[in-house]
């Protein structure tokens, strides 16, 4: 291990005053060697991204390195001038980011954005830049590169955009590639492809890759070495096998234990109870474009002839990738969206054809928990009002509703005093608990959880999943759990329905789906789960 290209020594990065701690990164040291992939793992706020950005000289304003060195090519990057850093960026050290949707300029063609990398460093002629761009796009596996060159980012899928980002980063053959959560925003099958691509390119070019992620599954897929960060410090570092198979630090052990296991257990509910929700022939199409003169509209069949049943006390998982129609199904069930046709029978009553007061009454029995704990709570309302509003709208007195809100807060393990606080005073996991309390306030019989834990860190996610499972049992709730994350589905669901392009392609008990998937698409999904092979090897 003599081939180190980057050496971080005792790096200290100060946060602006008033932040929750003084240092984003506190006394962090690690080496990055040529031809290896180093994964820096941690939960949000651990300082993993800050370390990466410091190496690029791209720290946010007001965040400054205050100690230590980052040695590259005989220089300390922290002491270089902005001009010298500009010369290194893109040429020696390149970076790709988390959100392929927003990381490309929406108003520039792909070819111009790639050509810009050469232009920034005064290399090649205009014509040569274009030629190189085609070669690069071919190399990162974009179908029809000539056409993609002329495209604007919005015309490409998320995975293709991330490939364009990678092509840009590789344009000048940098020694180091920094990848900041590059697959987090992608679907699981796309994620598997992009991870494979990064691995291949890294091997071909002997590049060093610093890979920032929160996902141990991804670590298992791609890492040579791992450094685990918590509160700005590296708590454990070692080869991937050492850290994953035999974690030494308590925090690493906790993180790895919190990852939902893939092996689904046979359902405890041996006999399904009486059906509470019965959906038959549900359809929903979206039309875009078209106007009063009847221009041709684009029609998307978001929900295509979906039928499913849910028994009392059962958890049904609806899994699928983005655009599969899983969220549209959820929205049709609670009538946030009007289905085009089909019936949604809740305890024998057809929700899809109710209106006015009858619909409001029926909605009490079916409540929803949303994905984004930051956007789904009114920031101007106190928690008490958020929870009590529903019952009050149905005629419960204010005093009674607030008393019930306190009980509910205790039920979801929050302090009763929370009732007088605003949502912004809570963390993401706590907010999701508030969201659950709100859903429970109307004493529903069915809860639809739409990606309810997707925005949470893995340890928080585990807590919220435990809470949901516990509440379900205590209150005899039926749960529809919509998720893109098959690991989560495996952990919590009794039965699973797999959706693709608006249709349910396979449905069955969770363990059957995972152990013996019948449909080709289901198999592709399961095989793409990061870390699966390692887990199977460990189990077998």
């Amino acid at each position: 291990m003599t081939d180190q290209v980057l050496r971080v020594e005792n790096l200290k990065i100060a946060l602006p005053e008033g932040a929750d701690r003084d240092f984003a990164v506190n006394d962090v040291s690690f080496d990055l060697h040529a031809g290896e992939i180093l994964c820096i793992v941690g939960e949000s706020g651990s300082g993993k991204s800050m370390s990466a950005n410091a190496a690029m000289g791209l720290l946010p304003e007001l965040v400054r390195p205050v100690g230590g060195r980052i040695l590259f090519d005989g220089n300390d990057l922290l002491t270089l001038s902005e001009d010298e850093m500009m010369d290194l960026r893109g040429r020696k050290i390149a970076m790709i980011f988390q959100e392929p949707m927003s990381a490309l300029n929406p108003l520039m063609r792909v070819e111009d954005q790639i050509a810009e990398v050469f232009e920034a460093h005064g290399l090649l002629t205009r014509k040569e830049r274009k030629e190189r761009a085609v070669t690069l796009l071919t190399e990162v596996g974009i179908p029809d590169p000539e056409k993609a060159m002329r495209a604007y980012p919005f015309q490409l899928s998320g995975g293709q955009r991330q490939r364009v980002m990678i092509a840009m980063a590789l344009a000048l053959e940098p020694q180091i590639l920094i990848a900041d959560e590059p697959t987090t925003a992608l679907d699981v099958t796309t994620q598997a492809q992009i991870l494979q691509l990064i691995r291949n390119l890294q091997e071909q070019r002997g590049m060093a890759v610093m890979f920032i992620t929160h996902d141990f599954g991804v670590v298992a897929e791609i890492a040579d070495r791992v450094a685990v960060m918590q509160y700005g410090k590296i708590v454990e570092a070692g080869t991937a096998d050492e850290v994953l198979d035999n974690p030494q630090h308590a925090y690493t052990q906790k993180l790895i234990a919190a990852i939902p296991k893939l092996a689904a257990e046979a359902s405890e509910v041996a006999e399904p109870g009486t059906p509470i929700l019965d959906v038959a022939g549900l359809n929903k199409t979206y039309r875009t474009g078209g106007g009063m003169f009847g221009a041709q509209a684009r029609v998307v069949h978001a929900v295509n002839n979906v039928s499913l049943t849910l028994a009392e006390g059962e958890t049904l998982g609806i899994v699928g990738e983005s655009g599969s129609g899983k969220s549209s199904v959820g929205r049709c069930l609670v009538r946030l969206m009007q289905p085009d046709s089909g019936t949604v029978k809740l305890a024998g009553q057809d929700m899809a054809h109710l209106s006015g007061g009858a619909l409001r009454e029926a909605r009490k029995s079916i409540q929803m928990i949303f994905q984004d704990p930051y956007a789904s709570l009114n920031p101007r309302a106190k928690v008490g009002r958020i929870i009590a509003e529903g019952p009050m709208a149905h005629g419960v007195s204010k005093r009674e509703a607030y008393a019930r809100a306190v009980e509910l807060l205790e039920l979801v393990d929050l302090d009763a005093l929370s009732i007088d606080r605003y949502p912004h005073e809570f963390s993401g996991g706590q907010r999701q608990r508030i969201g659950i309390a709100r859903a429970l306030a109307l004493e529903p019989r069915v809860i639809i959880a739409d990606e309810a834990v997707s925005a949470l860190d893995v340890s928080i996610q585990a807590q919220v999943l435990d809470l949901l499972a516990d509440l379900k049992k205590r209150l005899n709730l039926a749960l529809v759990f919509i998720t893109h994350d098959l690991r989560v589905a495996a952990q919590i669901c009794d039965r699973i329905a797999v959706m693709q392009k608006g249709e349910i392609v396979e449905t069955g008990p969770a363990h059957a789906i995972f152990d013996n998937p019948q449909n080709a698409y289901t198999r592709t999904l399961i095989e793409a789960i990061p870390g699966r092979e390692k887990e199977l090897a460990a189990a077998g």
Binding site: M56, L58, M86, D87, L88, R89, G90, R91, A94, M95, F97, E99, S102, A103, L104, N105, P106, L107, M108, E116, V117, E119, A120, H121, Y152, F154, M165, M168, A169, G289, G290, G291, M292, F293, A295, Q296
Partner: protein, 322 residues
């Protein structure tokens, strides 16, 4: 694209007729009519004379018949006859239109150019004294009533300093020709155009500044920095182009007011434009002329809406006109 334009023009025609009908009834709902005003001015307000005038102008027919006659004329591009001014309405409007367009288009260009420039400068120096200065000036312009700014400008630049003429379109009786005339009109133009542009300049400045700062936080700007691009290129190519999108929307709104939005300025500076024509027509209940001015203003708003939408498609490839 052609299909889109044709469709929009079709919609515009329908909207235009709806606007005219609405305006027609609104005007007739106001007390008094041209006959009463003329009779009053002639000092002979006996009922017979008024009735005679009404018959002459066709005002004695039922309202719906009058509307039908008017709309039929408009469809044949005949805006009617102003009995008050003894001239066809279309001729009157076309006489005044150049002066108004000269004024409003100059104000539009001045405000858009200077406002955007000031916004870019302020955003590049955010928090420094030059940003504070530009922002405070913009707030001042934004808050100052137009007529007051106009009067103060006249007081300062023409009465005290005597640098610029305070009112009128050109020097009466000087009989300049060619370049000398253009220069003379140009001098007369400066004060009204600057006054009229002041408000929108402030709005553009604030919007550009806010938009630049917002865009500079976006992910693709970080991507651009990670490429090693120079800050000046990032500013121009990545931030500015994206930041201009909301400004284009606003400019489209302002452009719609190019004909009808200068009544106050034209009145203060005695500028012989459409705005003053409309004001006079209103005072004299000159129905045909008033409707004619409304027609041209409304057509202009619709036209510039269409132009803005087409322009938006050019600037932002994500907008699909369909």
């Amino acid at each position: 694209m052609l299909r889109f334009i044709l469709m929009r023009l079709g919609k515009a025609a329908i909207i235009l007729i709806a606007i005219l009908t609405l305006n027609f009834f609104l005007i007739h709902a106001a007390p008094g009519d041209p006959a009463a005003v003329m009779a009053g001015e002639a000092g002979a307000a006996d009922a017979k004379f008024i009735a005679q005038l009404r018959e002459q102008f066709g005002l004695d027919k039922p309202l719906l018949v009058q509307l039908g006659i008017y709309l039929k004329g408009v469809i044949q591009l005949d805006l009617g006859y102003s009995y008050r001014q003894q001239m066809p309405v279309a001729d009157l409007i076309f006489q005044r239109l150049p002066a108004t367009l000269l004024l409003t288009v100059s104000a539009f260009i001045i405000s858009l150019f200077l406002g955007t420039l000031a916004g870019v400068l302020a955003s590049a120096r955010v928090g420094k004294w030059s940003d504070t200065l530009i922002s405070s000036l913009a707030l001042l312009f934004y808050a100052t009533p137009l007529f007051w700014a106009a009067l103060m400008a006249v007081l300062l630049f023409s009465v005290y300093l005597n640098w610029l003429p305070g009112f009128g379109y050109e020097t009466v009786g000087a009989n300049y020709t060619g370049f000398a005339r253009a220069l003379d009109i140009g001098k007369h133009l400066i004060l009204p155009a600057a006054t009229l542009g002041l408000f929108f300049m402030a709005v553009y400045m604030r919007m550009t500044r806010a938009s630049m700062l917002e865009v500079s936080q976006l992910d693709f700007v970080k991507t651009a920095r990670a490429k090693g691009l120079k800050p000046s290129i990032i500013q121009r190519r990545h931030i500015f182009r994206n930041a201009m999108l909301p400004v284009v929307t606003l400019a489209g709104l302002q452009a719609g007011q190019l004909v009808g939005g200068a009544v106050l300025t034209e009145t203060v500076f005695a500028w012989p434009g459409i705005g003053r024509l409309m004001f006079e027509a209103l005072a004299q209940r000159d129905y045909n002329l008033l409707l004619g001015v409304f027609f041209v203003s409304a057509a202009m708003v619709l036209l510039f809406n269409l132009v803005t939408d087409i322009l938006y498609r050019v600037v932002d490839p994500r907008i699909r006109v369909a």
